[in-house]
Symmetry: D2
Amino acid sequence: MDYTYAPGRNHLFVPGPVNIPDQVLRAMNRNNEDYRSPAIPALTKTLLEDVKKIFKTTSGTPFLIPTTGTGAWESALTNTLSPGDRIVSFIIGQFSLLWVDQQKRLGFNVDVVESEWGRGADLDVLASKLAADTAHTIKAVCIVHNETATGVTNNLATVRKILDEYQHPALFLVDGVSSICALDFRMDEWGVDVALTGSQKALSLPTGMGIVCASPKAIEASQSAKSLRVFFDWKDYLKFYKMGTYWPYTPSIQLLYGLKAALDLIFEEGLDNVIARHTRLGTATRLAVEAWGLKNCTQKEEWFSDTVTAVVVPPYIDSSEIVRRGWKRYNLSLGLGLNKVAGKVFRIGHLGHLNDLQLLGCLAGVEMVLKDVGYPVKLGSGVAAACAYLQNNIPMIPSRI
Amino acid sequence: MDYTYAPGRNHLFVPGPVNIPDQVLRAMNRNNEDYRSPAIPALTKTLLEDVKKIFKTTSGTPFLIPTTGTGAWESALTNTLSPGDRIVSFIIGQFSLLWVDQQKRLGFNVDVVESEWGRGADLDVLASKLAADTAHTIKAVCIVHNETATGVTNNLATVRKILDEYQHPALFLVDGVSSICALDFRMDEWGVDVALTGSQKALSLPTGMGIVCASPKAIEASQSAKSLRVFFDWKDYLKFYKMGTYWPYTPSIQLLYGLKAALDLIFEEGLDNVIARHTRLGTATRLAVEAWGLKNCTQKEEWFSDTVTAVVVPPYIDSSEIVRRGWKRYNLSLGLGLNKVAGKVFRIGHLGHLNDLQLLGCLAGVEMVLKDVGYPVKLGSGVAAACAYLQNNIPMIPSRI
Amino acid sequence: MDYTYAPGRNHLFVPGPVNIPDQVLRAMNRNNEDYRSPAIPALTKTLLEDVKKIFKTTSGTPFLIPTTGTGAWESALTNTLSPGDRIVSFIIGQFSLLWVDQQKRLGFNVDVVESEWGRGADLDVLASKLAADTAHTIKAVCIVHNETATGVTNNLATVRKILDEYQHPALFLVDGVSSICALDFRMDEWGVDVALTGSQKALSLPTGMGIVCASPKAIEASQSAKSLRVFFDWKDYLKFYKMGTYWPYTPSIQLLYGLKAALDLIFEEGLDNVIARHTRLGTATRLAVEAWGLKNCTQKEEWFSDTVTAVVVPPYIDSSEIVRRGWKRYNLSLGLGLNKVAGKVFRIGHLGHLNDLQLLGCLAGVEMVLKDVGYPVKLGSGVAAACAYLQNNIPMIPSRI
Amino acid sequence: MDYTYAPGRNHLFVPGPVNIPDQVLRAMNRNNEDYRSPAIPALTKTLLEDVKKIFKTTSGTPFLIPTTGTGAWESALTNTLSPGDRIVSFIIGQFSLLWVDQQKRLGFNVDVVESEWGRGADLDVLASKLAADTAHTIKAVCIVHNETATGVTNNLATVRKILDEYQHPALFLVDGVSSICALDFRMDEWGVDVALTGSQKALSLPTGMGIVCASPKAIEASQSAKSLRVFFDWKDYLKFYKMGTYWPYTPSIQLLYGLKAALDLIFEEGLDNVIARHTRLGTATRLAVEAWGLKNCTQKEEWFSDTVTAVVVPPYIDSSEIVRRGWKRYNLSLGLGLNKVAGKVFRIGHLGHLNDLQLLGCLAGVEMVLKDVGYPVKLGSGVAAACAYLQNNIPMIPSRI
């Protein structure tokens, strides 16, 4: 059943699904249970309270949906919008592109703002669109917080600032799939109306839970939204929340216990420490890339992503060969370049349950792979650059002092 | 994290989620992986071939969707039908009722045929509707194979016979959630167009995978169906099947390996032996119910379900109290009566990874619960009746002879 | 790797190794760790304190030895005695016989007191030996608390009474392998000098840890005992206890965490409740045996064991066939008759992580097996007898009220 | 229960216990079983055949004893020797010292040959002792293949050569704890009479199984050896081997299944490939040490160990501080210096289930630790040196080509 055995650990550096903590694996290693017994509602109640913290919201309503990020997107859109609604959406890479594709196929009138891949969403265009929209025909602004394909982080605070500037009532819908629990995200402060993530990203769980959080304004919108929906309908959830049984259909018992364990670890580390760790790992990665003489796909520092780095390879190298080679020789899993940047970039995911020495092992591996495929890297250079930074910045482990 | 500890095993006799084999728990006890490495497509390819066997189809196309049974329903409907399409659907209990609710909310024109709860779908009415529909305005016949709320199994062969009799081209959509892998189900022979189940039922996995299988005719219908859909869209799956990467979005690595293990066990036992085991456990349960002097909610033998038995309690007893008592005193998980039969029936699920002595422990527990709540059961009577049958019918374990 | 697959759970009713709670399996599902880091000593310190509670001692010194019950025996003997020392020891079944065999092979002068198998240790003979031994040549009295082969529990309080009566200074060494954590055991109150058990018995862990507890008097004896020993030498443990690193050689990390989880569950249930549960399960089993018209191997009620029941079969039946049949047809694991009672008894172990419905499933299975092998049992009779008692005696589950 | 949480994986580089493969963890994640059912003997039989391969013996008899390496030592000695027997034994570090301590305490007349720590066993002295011993008073030569405290590998082929040269009949007893399954070891070719290892070393299992293999000559010796023993007595094992039930007392079910999985992985990789991997990892480590400007505790290349490297630190640094720091800041577990080399060396274990990128992460971590404690290492230097070698020497993963 394990087709591709190799000695030692797999070095998993795709930007999701990411490494699962042993504590979470243990929590999930269990039989099914009756989800209508008092135990599961009690657990769910705790989870719904706890999960709000990772969104930094007190007023939001979370939904733990047995689906993926793609389903979470659909949940966000269909519950708040009606077919034909005008929305502004940005394409800056493969995942924002896929979201826009979904938005169109679900029947919305999508006003697409495209950027060159490697750049952030063009918020000036957003500003002019909002400024022009005095009739408030724009019903929602949809944006990915972090584009996983290019390693670009958009500035959500600025989006809110623009919305406020024009006193525009559009809903503010955020794909936080590769950001929430890893990057600084503030649902209430930034007035985000729907934010969402997937369990297999910074939460470090298996795939299978779409975590969606809705502001009161989004909940209100859901009462009149006309998009047809059942599986993703918040109404059914809210009905069962009220009854105290919580689940309109069967949840994954294992993922619920896993989520509890994952949140416990995040809170034990401290959410802000988790975010600081991602900043550190992202910085170290970028220093290595620089030392290798390679370019970050992300064009400006303001957009640098602390969860994934897309590295541009020289034109004479096929970046897919780097990914293949990593897997076939070093048991190293890197991310492919996708669509427009296929063959041109490879990606190092550095999110979730991960520490410095794991990353350094990956960076050493990338160096050998680069050499394998003909890039004249100085072996050790990236690791040296990362270590010089890390050795000054890694904190002591609080539980061990 | 375990709020409700009790010594010894939980006796899980709800009709899903059901007991997971240790072999499957072991297979799922693993870290995430890159789903774009060659390993996961290779595994998926095997799974898609293997999973057809549980549907008894060679021409069908299976989809392993990260969702629940409710999502699988939605996938079946939205891929084959367009809003406004007329469909015939049956309400015979809570789950068929919920499916009809979904059908309506998704915009179909649902021609509902209701039966008293405890009876099967009224196929005479189906026959007359099809007979009258010479214009072929009926686009689909939707039916649950086994109604989990009442323990009623519908006769699908008869449905096909009726469709054939009137040479009606309607699609034949089947909810096999509490039947497939436990009851006799023959997709190709019965000309079923879409069949579906959920991982947490007879497959004995955690919740989180909706398994949908589409006939060539259903696949063809999906090309013109106008229901808006993205997450559930087969088109995206088919595109990735063709590319050999299989996944339009991230699957649960753990459920894939778990499904492999679950199918391996089913094939090791032999699917027909699995079905025979369910017949045996269902029969034993019904003999116990009879010995207790209680009535099966299912009114006729032809509809008896071998996966779940709904037991009618005397009017002076609240069946919910039986379920509560089982859990609070005996670590026994039984199914509640739902909706119209709430308080009137309790349910014994006897599907999935289960054997005779487990069932007998449950039956002994039910007897004590019945006595607890004031029903004058003769302790041991149900177990005796079940044993008398089982001792003559349990086969030797082939691997141990 | 699983040679003998059968659907559903194995019904494990041998008197050890016993069922492991899922919580313990989860706790043990972990990688190795450096046992010289601060984490393992901290855990060990807690364990050594906690484990004293199951011996009901405050003055004893526990040792968690990577071995089995046989090794724990050897540890008890070689640390407290010198070759040639006279000891009184009882043979009442296979395990006490094996302990005596060990005592002889380790060079002690064993004064053996034999009883018919099915009877307890003859304490009158002990009394006369102690009375006669005014020179105090007897260095130790060795006794099994519960003989696992025959289901006989010896009265340890009486042993202490006799020792006190003659003011005899002999050490009091107790094999508590199938008693501690299941039967009433009071190390301090009964003045036991060494008591021991194995992890796979009532503690419900995997095999691999011998748990030995020594009184101050035993510790003192160990300073002059001349039996050669290294692996089992308490001296090495005590040296490392003093240093605070605890381990003279590598422990099983997994068993340490498992022991913590197992003790936590025992304390959550309450040790006295655990013992009461065993009394209840033992009583129910004996009522079933009586209902079947079969005899308990144990000849008098005062010796009845609440952890294992040896059932005598009629002479025309080979009890081994019962065990084989249970395994081959019902996935039921019963204990064989050993040595003198081979073929004559089969054993039902009812100790450890076990509850009433599990036992009832087993009893129903035994009934069918009995019928299979030609014993004219009335099916349901044992279950009925057990249920009549249990339904009056099972407490509500405290965490669920 | 997890006292010392830190994000990401623990980097386990002590020379045992080592990292357990996920496949092995999965295989061990299981309930207890009746070890007297046919399943466990069948499994055991396979294991006893398979385990011979890691000793490279066809004539040896293996014993899988529920104990640790210390117990395995005791088993080797007490089964083949009688108190007072003269044996030659070498002290070259802490573990050989402890074995000699055991030998003395077990009553043997130990002729100790000491070397400076960091040097191998002085085989010239062995030669002269054997030469002088024309009366064959020397009953055994005891030697550790690999001294885990100093990272010194003794040349066993030379030992055999010397024994043969003097046609000396002494038994040849080998501690292979940190060698077998990692270093080249040839029981039959080198005429080793007893070889032993522990499960938690290169086999990459949890602690708890001492694996001992005896040559026909050793088995013969065991029939007359007068050392008192029961738990460790091969006689009991052999008796049960003959009966086909295999176990004189209860084994760990989990470790048996774990051993099967561990051996399967070793055979899948190929034992010689496993050994080659250890050579590669050892070489890479030594290159890093050299690049850091530090000295290997092992004084000559002929003794270099491919399973553990003891690194000498400058006198102004306390090596224990390095270990502490690694654990407290980097989640890196290194080995302490022991006894004579306490404070002077730290150890990098590079054995068992481990690959190149894991090692490189460790080496990067060691560099940062060295800098932390005031050693002027050039960050990246060791990794660069290791990578330069590894990038030329790592083979493609056969299952992935």
